[in-house]
Amino acid sequence: MRRVFSLWDSTVGKKIMMATTGVILIGFVVGHMIGNLKVYQGADAFNHYAEGLRTVGEPFFGSGQLLWIIRIVLLAAVGIHILAAVQLVMRSRKARAIGYRKYEGDMVFSYASRTMTWGGLIILGFVVYHLMHLTFGNAHPDFVHGNAYHNFVTGFQSWPVSIAYILTMIPLGFHLYHGFWSMLQTFGATNPKMNHVRRPIAAALAGVVVLGNISFPVAVLAGLVGY
């Protein structure tokens, strides 16, 4: 454990922490999208899935216990990810206290890498809203506890809400694209024979998650998912 903590001593170590927590969060985002695909199987299947999230792990765990363990792990991952990011960004601001009059931004490999900080902040804000909207329900006009399908459909029937969800998927896509590639780089997963597939895999991951998530509000607005 001392070795894990000693990672915090260096910028590279902090990046390893960010990459590790990033893997956990990528796993969540992918699982969240795949789980929500059940909405296309109708109200019963979706509500059964939502209830299943609480009962998963039974009989080893009581109702909601494993869910809470996962939530705590996710919260810790988010916390470490953000803390490392904030410390590193502050540090890099200081590392170039005087900026350039002219700077050729095209030198960077991809637009995505330059949006990580702002994209991360937008995603954080979105997550807070999303939890209040479809988990706690206090930002939802017609929230019914235990009826996830109803909350899903009535939530996305609002155009402004759906547009906000869809727009947030753009920075999420960039964040996943650069984050995944960057994670491989930070773990030192560089193999001359495999390097050319790292970018396409990152793009595919980001594309699948973004398209899957965007399909939900679009399906509700188009009337494909409803009553």
Binding site: S10, L88, K94, A95, R96, R101, M107, S113, R114, H178
Partner: protein, 250 residues
Amino acid sequence: MKLKLHVWRQNGPGNEGRFEDYVAENVSEHMSFLEMLDVVNEQLIARGDEPIAFDHDCREGICGSCGFMINGEPHGPLPSTTVCQLHMRNYRDGDELWIEPWRATAFPVIRDLIVDRSPLDRIVQAGGYISVRTGSAPEANNIAVPKANADLAMDAAECIACGACVAACPNASAMLFTGAKVTHLGALPQGQPERYTRVVEMVTMHDDEGFGHCTNHGACQTACPKNIKVDYIGRLNADLRKAKFRHPAG
């Protein structure tokens, strides 16, 4: 050709700097960029003004002394080229050029376009060496080096420590430089005994010198006049991880 120059002038480390405008006239396309500045300086000296100070030595693109930003790009627009090997045929009559020193808190400006790059030397001093018993040189073929490792070490050793990677990096990180040094020695059999202490020491010194962190932007690789690849940063990252978990010292 005639060029309009905006050059950063600064008297010393603690002084305020400013851009001064100059016109470079009768510039031949055969001149190197530094020769163009030499001509401008001759005119400044003739007028009784202070010439523009810039670092240079070999002017063959191999010593790593020269380098500054031209329109926001380290060593100017050509790939794999130091500013001494950048020729004026790459510019056209009437071009407007902004010339600035490397900008990094770790690289204080000494004068005009000259910055203090000794933090890079200190990173090397922290671990960029192989401790050997001196004495007569051993038989060259006693230690077999696989061809792939020899090539990797040679490619990484191309780094001339000019500082362009730091200048290009949006975070002013020196990870490409440090990665090249770690890769160079870590790829060779002679570098193995100190491989995992080396990476920790060099990264610690890199951070202590006030360089930023690597966010894998890749601007360093684009700017590098010696084609150092960000893959070497990946190797550094892997070595640091192994140093922490697989080969922890002490």
